[in-house]
C-alpha cells in the first residue's frame, strides 16, 4: 500500500491527479485511523469528508514526501478527536436537559439496541469500537487488506512486538466483551415473565 515518492511530491505540489491517487490509495487507511479514534456515535463519512477537505487545503504544508502518511494520520486523529470533544459536550448538555432515565428505561434501551443489531458481524465491530484506541487501531488496521504487522508498527511508530501484544490484547478483550454481552442476553432471556 502507498504511492511512490514522485507521486507524493506531486500531490504535495497540488497536482490534482497525484492528489486523487494519494487519496485513492489511502482513503481506507484514513478511514481505519478515524474509526480507531472517533467516538462510537460519530459518523465516519462526515469525518472522512472533513479529512478530505483538510488534505486539499493543507497538503502543501507537508515538507517531505516521506512524511505524507504520518501527516495524514495526524489529520485523521485530530479530526476524530475533535469530533469526540464535540460529542462529549453534546452528551453533557443532553444529560443536563434530559430527564433522568430509570434503570428500567436503560434496560429497555439496551434490549432495543440488541434487537436492532444487524447480526453478529456488526456486533463484533461495535464491540471493537469500544476498545481503547491503542488496541482498536492495530486491530482495525490489521483488518485492512494487506496491512502487515510491520507496516502497522511503522505507522504507529512502535516496535513490532508491541503491535503483536496489542493485537493479542485487543482480541482477548473482544472475546471477554462478547462473553459479557452473551451473559447479559442469557439473563434477559431467563428473566421470568411478569404475571398477567
Amino acid at each position: 500500500m502507498g504511492i511512490d515518492r514522485v507521486t507524493a511530491r506531486a500531490a504535495i505540489e497540488g497536482d490534482p491527479e497525484a492528489l486523487r491517487e494519494f487519496w485513492r490509495t489511502h482513503r481506507r487507511w484514513a478511514a481505519a485511523i478515524i474509526m480507531s479514534h472517533m467516538p462510537a456515535e460519530a459518523e465516519l463519512d462526515d469525518l472522512l469528508q472533513d479529512v478530505a477537505t483538510v488534505v486539499v487545503e493543507r497538503i502543501s504544508e507537508v515538507r517531505k514526501p516521506e512524511r505524507l502518511r504520518a501527516w495524514l494520520r495526524s489529520v485523521a486523529i485530530n479530526t476524530a478527536r475533535t469530533a469526540g470533544r464535540k460529542q462529549s459536550v453534546r452528551r453533557r448538555a443532553m444529560r443536563e436537559l434530559a430527564p433522568t432515565a430509570t434503570d428500567a428505561d436503560r434496560s429497555e434501551e439496551r434490549a432495543r439496541a440488541r434487537d436492532t443489531a444487524r447480526g453478529q458481524a456488526k456486533r463484533v465491530l461495535e464491540l471493537a469500537m469500544r476498545l481503547h484506541p491503542d488496541y482498536r487501531e492495530p486491530l482495525l488496521l490489521r483488518s485492512l487488506h494487506g496491512m502487515s504487522q510491520r507496516m502497522i508498527a511503522s505507522t504507529l511508530d512502535v516496535p513490532e512486538t508491541t503491535v503483536e501484544t496489542r493485537l493479542a490484547r485487543a482480541r482477548k478483550m473482544l472475546r471477554e466483551e462478547m462473553a459479557f454481552e452473551t451473559d447479559l442476553e442469557d439473563l434477559t432471556i431467563a428473566k421470568p415473565r411478569s404475571r398477567a
Partner: protein, 202 residues
Amino acid sequence: MTLTREDILISRIVDGSSEPADWAELQTLAEDDPEALLRLAGAQRREADLRESFGAVLNDADEIDLPLGHTATVYTFRNRLQVWTGWAAAAAIALAWLTAGGVLRPNSTTSTVAGWSPAATTDEAFEQYQMMGLAEGRVLGELPKMMIQVERLESGQAEVTYLRRVLERRLVTDVYESGVDTQGRPELRPAQLTGSRANDAL
C-alpha cells in the same frame, strides 16, 4: 488484564503470522485444556466477522472523494507558488520579488474584484490580473516560474531574469491551425477537432 501464552498463540494463528511451532505449542496446551481449541475457533469467527463488517464500512468510505472541483485550479495555483517560494528559499536567493506579490488568496471572490482599485505596483497589477482572471474563469493558474539567468551585480545585488507563464482559456467559435498551402506558403486553415465535452462556463 494479563495475557497468557495461549492468548498470544491464538492471536498469531488468527493473524496468519504463526509458525508451525506455534500450532504445536497450542496443541500441547489443548491436551490439558481442550477448550483452548474452542477459544481459537471463536477468535477466528470474530476475526472473520470483524473483517466483514469493517469491510462494509470501508466500502461506504470509498464514496468519499476529495473536494477537488472548481477550487482545484485555485488550489493548484497557490501550491505551485508556495513550492516555488520554498525552493527559492532553499537556494538562498532571498529576493524580495518572490514574496512581494503574486500570492493569490484563494478565498477572494468576485465581490473583491468588483471593488478593484488601481494597482500601485507591477506586482499588484499582476496579482489583480490573476485574481480577476480566476474570478472570470479565464485564468486557470500560473505555472512555476522559469529561471533564465541570475547575475551578480557590482552593487552586491543579484539580477534575476525569469519567465512567468500563466495558463489561460477562452471560448472561441472558430479554431484554426497553421500549415502551408500547395505552394509552400504559410497559411491558417480551420482545425478539425475530435471529441467534445459539456460546456462549462468561463
